[in-house]
Symmetry: C2
Subunit: 293 residues, 2 copies
């Protein structure tokens, strides 16, 4: 059975020492691990965090956070180098915490969350961005191999990145880097916007999936939206994906006019029951996906 996890910003952002009390609660909800945003320098004591996780019996993997200043796709050499340095820092954090995976939009070039509007891209610049991503990821993957960490490259939807949005594009990058420590991460929230068929995309990525995020089309709790979870679980079984699966249902239940849905908001009510139900739902379907009657 795949390990099922929950993103730390379901509960708090930033996630700091005061939130360690949540580890036991998260375990009790049925989660096997927490997916922590890579802590910024000084945000968390990594050894203390590892100890608290071990005490609760909770696993951990890391989610990298890129921005325009640490961006391996950048034409600015300093920013590109900061992007590579950041990935190395994330790998070191991962090794110290006992996490085996660093996932996220490692190619950089964030769009809406960095206040960038979509712009046309010249073919020469498109190819230059690709070259910079390939060389940056090659260096990061080599460093990851030294620390026995797997990098999982995540395509984002068209509004969150203008370089990597689809599984096909991700495979193009994996082929270019060609390193066993670089795989793809699939997130069904982004896939629901960009793929013709989520199960088809899972089969395309096949044994190159390094991490998976199971999110509804609207980022609500798993089972409340319109993603075909039976189809997703069957496809994951078919490609024999045995890695971790994280949930990130942080939309929040609040549809009043003017509430900004893309903006991260902290929980305004107890979500424990819905989180527990989401894990149980997913674990049940993963079990049942092996059967046809």
């Amino acid at each position: 059975m795949n390990q099922i996890g929950i993103i730390s910003m379901q509960f708090a952002r930033p996630f700091t020492v005061e939130h360690f009390v949540l580890f036991n609660k998260i375990k009790k909800m049925g989660f096997d691990f927490i997916e922590l945003l890579v802590p910024e320098q000084g945000e968390l004591n990594l050894k203390d965090t590892k100890q608290a996780l071990d005490d609760a019996g909770l696993g951990v993997i890391l989610a990298a956070r890129v921005n325009l200043d640490r961006n391996i796709a950048s034409a600015d050499k300093k920013k590109q180098q900061c992007g590579i340095d950041y990935l190395k820092y994330a790998i070191e954090c991962s090794a110290t915490l006992g996490s085996k995976i660093v996932g996220g939009p490692l190619t950089g070039n964030p769009l809406v969350f960095s206040g960038r509007a979509p712009q046309p891209v010249e073919e020469s610049e498109r190819l230059a961005r690709k070259d910079r991503c390939l060389s940056g990821l090659a260096k990061a993957a080599a460093y990851a191999a030294q620390h026995e960490i797997l990098l999982a490259l995540e395509p984002l939807n068209r509004f969150e990145s203008d370089v990597l949005c689809t599984t096909q594009q991700g495979i193009e990058i994996l082929d270019g880097v060609d390193h066993p420590n670089l795989k793809i991460m699939l997130d069904t929230f982004h896939m629901a916007m960009e793929e013709a068929s989520i199960p088809e995309a899972i089969r395309l990525a096949s044994n190159r999936i390094g991490h998976f995020q199971a999110n509804e089309n609207h980022r609500g709790f798993l089972g409340t939206g319109s993603v075909d979870w039976t189809g997703v679980c069957r496809a994951l079984k078919e490609v024999e994906y045995k890695g971790p699966i994280s949930l990130e249902p942080f939309r929040r239940n609040d549809d009043r006019f003017g509430v900004p849905l893309a903006q991260w908001r902290q929980p305004h009510e107890d979500e424990a029951d819905r989180l527990s139900a989401s894990v149980a739902f997913l674990k049940s379907l993963l079990t049942l996906a092996e059967f046809r009657r």
Copy 2:
């Protein structure tokens, strides 16, 4: 049978006199009308455009284009007034062209396409935005009534607007304005991202739907993605929606790494066959939606 249309930017943006030759081709593909972006001042001669449309036997409706400077949600009184003036201008264009509908994200506050990053919103500002939208739309709806034009208010996905994203939020605004010349426009591209269930949302909006856009989850050609079109057509029949339905499949068939999917791109190949097939598919399903066997 509902009239089926195509957005002008499927072919060109801006759409100018040189593109009038397309009207006959669009008609031959099976479309009943074109949805024109409201022309900017001087972009099109409206009487010539009406004549060319009439000659081709093609209907027309209008899609309003807001920005941060013409924005009824704005706290800047000048920009709010520009937003109202723009809606009046759009209504006048519609009347001159013989269009009966002006649709679009009339509430303003564009996000990613204006280069705005999502930001937290204080409750007082959220309510002030709502008040400004209600008063602006009330004035626009009164003006629309004088010209026998219907305004169709469109919720956008979370990355394109931070005021109006869901059908529920749209109904909240319709209730607040309470004017027969203001209805809601539903677009399945945005709904696929924001609604728990597209058919449920159609039933929620019911007889208050003024315009409908039938787009795939990934904005590809209708029938190439994962939207449940049988369910959509059945729901439209159930609520007895008899108004226009537009297609906007301008994603383009190009998934190379670094091609910016959110950026509007002109067609790079002949899309006529897929457009014809998309209309035929939709018309067939709308016919069949009345039956169960």
